[in-house]
């Protein structure tokens, strides 16, 4: 089960993670809907791009620019959080959306927990695969921690001060 567009849904994608014996060049990508590591995509691009549906995932130290013109080829792009405290994936997501113009499904995978979900959706993630030991109903609640935000990100193109009429100073308001 995953969270997609703010709902809990079934998921039929598999994430391919290489084990120590496998290399990007020699690994066999199973048939069906597979999200492959960026390295595998780069090594087996010619074969993989023949598939009807393919996904790719970024490790936290990989940069979306490496996909170059390929972003729109994917049904899913995922960003891996090896630990929730590794925040590089937030900028990866932002750059994929805002800089490379990716419009498909953007999925957070790895150490994905409730208390980071609000931030993740703001930088452009629309799909979340929570860590399997967590109750997904509980993780879902993280999306609604706040109902207002100050600054722009991918989800919100206008800062609060351009979106609403904010109150100025009234002389009576000073001092207590």
């Amino acid at each position: 089960m995953i969270i997609k567009n703010r709902a809990i849904v079934e998921d039929d994608w598999t994430v391919l993670r290489l084990n120590e014996q496998e290399s990007a060049e020699n690994v066999t990508v199973a048939a069906g809907k597979v999200i492959v590591p960026l390295k595998v995509w780069l090594a087996q691009r010619d074969a993989l791009q023949q598939r009807a549906e393919i996904g790719v995932w970024f490790a936290s130290d990989e940069r979306p620019e490496d996909l170059k013109g390929d972003v729109q080829k994917f049904s899913v792009i995922a960003v891996d959080f090896p630990k929730f405290s590794d925040g590089r994936g937030y900028s990866t997501a932002y750059n994929l959306r805002a800089r490379l113009g990716y419009t498909g499904e953007l999925r957070a995978i790895g150490d994905v927990l409730r208390d980071q979900l609000f931030y993740m959706q703001r930088v452009g993630f629309d799909t979340f695969a929570p860590r399997p030991d967590r109750k997904i109903e509980d993780v879902l609640k993280g999306l609604t921690d706040f109902s207002e935000v100050y600054q722009t990100s991918f989800d919100q193109k206008l800062p609060l001060f351009r979106r609403v009429q904010r109150k100025g100073n009234s002389p009576a308001g000073l001092g207590q």
Partner: protein
């Protein structure tokens, strides 16, 4: 000062609710300590040796009297009757229970305060000039921009899990009073030759293990673009800052590794397509926020006051106080008053609940109900009528807030040290007390003049020892005893410099003697009207070093002390400890 509108209030209220649920999940075991740690840190909650410590954000050091009274309330209700003002213009409470912290945050939210991002690997509280808006040398009032940056950085979704903490300081005077050279980003708001407002941007400054003076990344960023420029700096740092070694994770290491030119190139490439987008600041927003910092209702007064001069002639302690603790104001007939939290024998930066209430009353009576916290851990009443000085001095003296020592030897910066902090190698506060007692004589201190003595219990430099004229650092040795390194020649402000270690380290009791020897060299060598740091810069370190190490420092040592035990004379036992 800035007041919340419904949006600010809603965000802070929702934060309280979110945090309350996080604490509930921690207490029920749904969250492991490892998972809870960054969450509580982003709310300023540390687990210290004896109890939880909560650091509350005081945006750029400004609070109202009502907010100060809330600190007194928190000190009494949840703590042991006192709080500690920090070098980043915040306040910390040291003796809290985890279960109480959601209620404390709710109390704070009721007076438009919070503890958001006062710790953790995120953008911290924005600090600024404690004399902003009233300083005679001010070019542009930095406060509206500090508030705009505060809002921009609050819960920024992309920069909540940076490689390491991130500190921004902003100053608007000719003289830098916000230590902008010692911050991850230092901003100096200024005017171009054409009168346009903008920012000189420094990056990669910082203290800690690797002290670095910030580099200029851009000479002038027009005001409209400051948010996006800062955003691009953070985006490059978030992606490329080191995460493999926490001691090499600050932005200064990245800037050094890339070189400032390459770092600037990357930042400006990122910035190019943000610059003129919707993230740019609007004149309406600057003017809305600036409206909160417009002048209070100043009276038309003059600077001449014969009564004051008479009283100064009569009272040496009053005239000393005026000399050190009263600063010129840009409006005639008004002055800036610094209330000292450095009475010899007290803990630098500590204030009791009673003192907090007194300060709130003084602010209401004499300074339009506002107080400022300084980065040297004192408090400022920024808008005092000169003719009220005598009464203010009398009122404040009753609560031990008028030590005439601002900028002098006993106006030391000190971190909490090993009594409280799990990182420290050595005690800081008792050493500060020992030094203060040794040099208590006011005439001697006034003779020595301007000097900054900064004490940190370890290399993390919370006591900013690198930029002390004399810096003292607790260091670890194999025997686990307390040892202190002494450095010389550090300074903050426009001529910031990093101090250099003078030689082998010293014991607790030797440190005052070392300071005494350094001062003797200064007294011997100084030219007329030359400050300590000026003499050090003119004659170099050698004469100081030679004299300090010339003969044995024959100082009796105390019996072995447990450096983690807080001296019971100051704080009542028993200790509540979450560690055991």
């Amino acid at each position: 000062m800035y007041r919340y509108d419904e949006y600010d209030q809603q965000i802070v209220d929702e934060r309280v609710r979110q945090y309350r649920d996080q604490v509930r999940r921690r207490l029920s075991g749904e969250l492991t300590e490892e998972e809870f740690l960054p969450l509580r840190l982003q709310n300023g909650l540390y687990m210290q040796i004896h109890a939880y410590m909560l650091r509350i954000a005081v945006p750029y050091g400004f609070i109202s009297s009502g907010q100060m009274r809330m600190f007194a309330h928190i000190a009494r209700k949840y703590d042991r009757g006192y709080g500690h003002f920090t070098t980043r213009q915040n306040i910390q409470f040291n003796w809290l229970k985890l279960e109480d912290t959601p209620d404390i945050l709710a109390d704070l939210a009721s007076v438009e305060m919070h503890a958001i991002q006062t710790s953790g690997n995120c953008v911290r509280n924005i600090t600024s000039d404690e004399y902003a808006g009233v300083a005679q040398d001010e070019v542009v009032d930095p406060r509206p921009y500090a508030e705009i940056l505060r809002q921009w950085s609050t819960f920024h979704p992309e920069f909540a899990y940076l490689p390491r903490k991130f500190k921004i300081a902003i100053s608007g005077g000719k003289e830098d009073r916000a230590a902008i050279y010692a911050h991850d980003i230092g901003l100096s708001v200024t005017k171009s030759a054409q009168g346009e407002i903008g920012f000189r941007v420094l990056v990669g400054g910082g203290l800690g293990r690797t002290p670095v003076i910030g580099n200029e990344i851009c000479e002038f960023v027009p005001w409209q673009h400051i948010l996006t420029y800062v955003e691009s700096i953070l985006r490059i740092y978030n992606q490329y800052g080191r995460r493999d070694n926490k001691y090499k994770a600050r932005i200064k290491i990245l800037v050094k590794a890339l070189g400032i030119d390459e770092f600037k190139r990357q930042v400006e490439a990122d910035w190019a397509d943000l610059k003129d987008g919707s993230g740019a600041l609007t004149a309406e927003e600057v003017s809305r926020v600036a409206g909160f910092f417009s002048d209070p209702a100043y009276e038309t007064l003059t600077d001449h006051d014969s009564q004051l001069n008479e009283f100064k002639a009569d009272s040496r302690s009053f005239s000393n106080w005026v000399l050190r603790n009263v600063k010129p104001h840009r409006v005639p007939g008004y002055v800036i008053v610094v209330l000292s939290l450095k009475k010899p024998g007290s803990v630098p930066g500590d204030a009791t609940a009673e003192q907090m209430e007194t300060i709130a009353d003084l602010a209401d009576r004499y300074s339009f109900g506002e107080v400022r916290i300084t980065h040297k851990q004192n408090l400022v009443l920024a808008d005092v009528r000169q003719k009220d000085l005598i009464r203010l001095w009398q009122d404040a003296t009753a609560y031990e807030l008028t030590s005439p020592n601002i900028g002098l030897l006993t106006d030391m910066i000190s971190c909490p040290g090993a009594e409280f902090c799990t990182l420290a190698n050595a005690r800081s506060i008792p050493l500060a007390k020992l030094i203060a007692e040794r040099f208590e004589d006011m005439d001697f201190q006034h003779d020595i003049g301007e000097i900054a003595v900064n004490i940190s219990g370890c290399v993390n430099a919370c006591g900013q020892h690198h930029i002390g004229n004399i810096g003292i650092t607790g260091v670890e040795k194999k025997d686990h005893d307390e040892w202190y390194q002494v450095s010389l020649g550090g300074a903050e402000g426009n001529n910031s410099s990093i101090g250099k270690i003078i030689g082998p380290s010293f014991t607790f009791n030797q440190v005052p003697e070392v300071i005494d020897r350094l001062l003797q060299v200064y007294l011997r060598e100084r030219l007329e009207a030359e400050s300590f740091i000026e003499t050090v810069r003119r004659i170099g370190h050698t004469p100081f070093k030679e004299y300090v190490y010339a003969t044995d420092l024959d100082v009796p040592e105390e019996e072995t002390v447990d450096k983690h035990v807080v001296m019971p004379a100051q704080y009542s036992v028993p200790f509540y400890s979450p560690r055991f």
